[in-house]
Each structure stands twice: as structure tokens, then as C-alpha cells.
């Protein structure tokens, strides 16, 4: 079930469902999330993973984490798709790689805080998701392919360069150009933070 953009509010349907899980522990909302994202996350794990036999275990771990951590979801920062992607990515790394992906700790006294999540001037989560989709669609096929191989298939730039028969620097510069495009589409909120 593809979330038809029915809701007139700031959230897409799936982000609204995730908030219902967060606020009320609503099992029906969780079921809706699973129906939408379960197959998609499974496709991601099959593409990016190294061990097909474990994919369903990792899928289960991912959705267990979605259920347990829903209270940490901040709909001002990310859509449900983005938040669930990050959880699935971390589970995939834990399961399929020997090395780790260290993360910063916002509770650390040495952490340098930024401005609080912006108010009206920030793009609503739904608008941002639409802008990202539009920006991805506007990329060249070559740039989109580098992003797809990175994010969906979990390939390093070195592996992408080999796969596409291009120099490493070309793989990286396609990624950078694609990201520039995306940032331009989103109005460079970053500038206000410098």
C-alpha cells in the first residue's frame, strides 16, 4: 500500500502512523507500517546484505526496534521512511559486517549542540520528502545510480567504481554533485547554521 498523499497536514501517511505508534502504542498503526515498509526493508536487506538466510531475522530485529524506539521518533526531523531506513541500515551493519559504524552521542558533555529544530521556516517533513523525491528524479541517470548503489545496495565508492568501470574520483564526484543538487532543492537550510 503506497501512501497516497491523502492527508492535508504536514505528515505523509506513514509518518502519521509512526507517530500513532509513538504516542499510543497503536498496534493497527504498527501493522500499517509493517505492511508498507516490511517488504521494502526486506528488499533492501536482500540487496545490501551478505547472508540471505538471515534476512528475515534482521527484518524482525528492525521492526522490533521500530516498535521499541518509536518514542524517539521526531517527525520534525525525518519522515518515517528515513527513520526506518536508518534503523535497517544499522541492523544490516551489525549483522553483515565485522566492523562498526560509530555514532555521536548527543548526551556527551563535549557534544556541541545546534539550534533547536526550526519552526515555521523549516520545511515540513512531508514537503522535504517530496523535495527529495523531486531532486532524485531530476538527477542524471549516472548520479542516481551512484546513490542507489550506495544507499540501497550498500556498496562503497571503491566497489561502485569497479562495478561501473569508472575511476574512484568519478564515483565520489557523482555523489557530491547529486548531493549539491539535493541541497539546492531543499533551500540550503545549512547556511543558517554556519
Amino acid at each position: 500500500m503506497r501512501g497516497p498523499d491523502r492527508l492535508a497536514g504536514e505528515l505523509d501517511e506513514m509518518s502519521a502512523r509512526l507517530l500513532e505508534v509513538a504516542e499510543r502504542g497503536d498496534p493497527a498503526a504498527f501493522a500499517a507500517l509493517y505492511r508498507h515498509f516490511g517488504p521494502r526493508v526486506r528488499a533492501y536487506l536482500l540487496r545490501a546484505g551478505g547472508d540471505i538466510g538471515r534476512v528475515d531475522d534482521i527484518l524482525q530485529e528492525t521492526f522490533s526496534a521500530v516498535w521499541r524506539k518509536a518514542g524517539q521518533y521526531d517527525s520534525r526531523r525525518a519522515s518515517a521512511a528515513t527513520w526506518i531506513f536508518a534503523i535497517a541500515r544499522n541492523r544490516r551493519i551489525d549483522a553483515f559486517r565485522r566492523d562498526r559504524r560509530p555514532e555521536f552521542d548527543p548526551e556527551d558533555p563535549a557534544f556541541r549542540p545546534g539550534p533547536p529544530p526550526a519552526g515555521e521556516e523549516a520545511l515540513a517533513t512531508r514537503e522535504r520528502a517530496e523535495a527529495v523525491r523531486a531532486a532524485l528524479a531530476a538527477l542524471s541517470e549516472e548520479q542516481r545510480e551512484v546513490l542507489r548503489l550506495s544507499f540501497f545496495e550498500g556498496e562503497s565508492y571503491a566497489a561502485i567504481a569497479v562495478r561501473l568501470g569508472i575511476p574512484l574520483g568519478t564515483a565520489k564526484s557523482r555523489a557530491r554533485l547529486a548531493f549539491d543538487r539535493l541541497r539546492a532543492e531543499l533551500g540550503a537550510q545549512r547556511e543558517g547554521l554556519r
Binding site: 522490533s64 527513520w83 541500515r89 559504524r101 555521536f104 563535549a110
Partner: protein, 219 residues
């Protein structure tokens, strides 16, 4: 910080995609702890992953299992995992997390090893192929000998400052050098410069003297 003192979009994207090796991820995560602007960009990078997951091609989609079978007993445990963290230690740290955990303490508590020229290093253990991470302490006013690279080198300042190729780098700033760069970073005059260096290939020193520094690069 200007844009070229950040980790760079290609590293940030790879960190968001989860394709970066552990040593380089450590540098990116430590920079993120000190840089709100790059944290905002990370959210943007992860939104690419979200958009790609959301639009996964239909022919890749297997039948969904019933959600009950997926989360089963987990239903009862919701919320119980939210425990209050112990109060964070107060005081200021030179090394932010996750770097401090990798080092096993803050900069003043480490068993640094002298590697010549007054420079000291502390190697960091990371898994995976390729890149290696180490902390360097360069005495105030001293230079790291001229060196080139066969590969990539990223250096992030944690205390003090260094001057490299026409610019000052201070806490949180990242200097990136690739195979085309030969450089001679110099620590600022006020205090020793502590930095995190990640390299993905051997450094190449241009004069024989710095061969004394070979242990400095752990090779």
C-alpha cells in the same frame, strides 16, 4: 568553519548510506559531534535512503509476513527499554564521543608514544580493511614533516590548531589531502595540537630524516 573544513559531502553520504569503513566513520562521527551544520546534512543524506526504500521497485517486494509474527512477544516490552542514562560526567573533554570511547579515555589520560620530533601518537583500534585511525599530538609551533600520500588522509583538530596549505584549522575542522597533495602541517604557537588522523594508505616522506617517523605511521 568554511565548507572545505568539513568532512565533505562524499564522506557524509557514505556515512549516511552505511558504506564507510570504521576508521573513517569514527572521524565523521566525531566531526558530527562538533558540527551542527553537518548533522543537518546527515539528516538530508539519510532522507535519500528513506526515499529509495519508499520507492523500492514492486518486483523486488516479497509477500509481507503478518506483523504479529514479526514482533510477537516484543509487544509487551515496549517502553521498558527506555532507561535513564546515568548522569554524564561534568567537565570539558578534549575528545568527544565516540572518539573518547575508542581511545579509552580523554587525551590527558592516554599512554602516548613518542615517535620523534616531539610528536606523539596514540593508535586507535578499528576493524575492517583499509583505513587506520590514530591520535597525534604535535608540539606547539612544530611541523609534521613533508609528506605525500598514495591515498586519502583526513585530519581533524581536537585541541590547539594547525596551519596547512594556507589555512588555519581549529577544533572540529577537518583537513583532507588526497594522493595529489604534498604538505607540511604546522601546529599553532599557543598550545600543542591534538588531532585525529585517518589514512587509507601509507604516507610517503620526501626526505630521509622523517623515516625516523615510520613508527609514527604504524607501518
Amino acid at each position: 568553519m568554511s565548507k572545505d573544513k568539513h568532512v565533505g559531502d562524499d564522506l557524509l553520504l557514505a556515512y549516511g548510506a552505511g558504506t564507510l569503513d570504521e576508521a573513517t566513520s569514527l572521524l565523521v562521527a566525531t566531526h558530527l559531534a562538533l558540527c551542527p551544520a553537518c548533522r543537518a546534512d546527515l539528516v538530508l543524506a539519510e532522507a535519500i535512503g528513506g526515499a529509495l526504500i519508499d520507492s523500492a521497485e514492486a518486483d523486488l517486494l516479497p509477500d509481507a509476513t503478518a506483523p504479529d509474527a514479526v514482533f510477537g512477544d516484543e509487544a509487551g516490552s515496549r517502553g521498558s527499554a527506555v532507561a535513564h542514562a546515568p548522569p554524564a560526567p561534568s567537565g570539558s573533554f578534549v575528545l568527544p564521543q565516540p572518539l573518547r570511547a575508542y581511545a579509552g579515555g580523554d587525551a590527558g589520560e592516554l599512554r602516548w608514544r613518542a615517535v620523534g620530533g616531539g610528536i606523539r601518537q596514540f593508535p586507535l583500534t578499528t576493524q575492517g580493511e583499509g583505513a587506520v585511525a590514530r591520535l597525534l599530538s604535535i608540539p606547539a609551533g612544530k611541523a609534521v614533516p613533508d609528506h605525500g600520500h598514495r591515498g586519502f588522509e583526513a585530519t581533524m583538530v581536537l585541541a590547539g590548531a594547525f596551519f596547512d596549505r594556507g589555512a588555519w584549522y581549529r577544533r572540529g575542522d577537518v583537513a583532507i589531502a588526497d594522493a595529489s597533495v604534498v604538505h607540511r602541517p604546522v601546529a599553532g604557537p599557543e598550545e600543542d595540537c591534538i588531532c585525529l588522523a585517518v589514512t587509507d594508505a601509507r604516507l610517503q616522506f620526501l626526505s630521509p630524516i622523517p623515516r625516523l617517523l615510520q613508527p609514527f605511521h604504524g607501518i
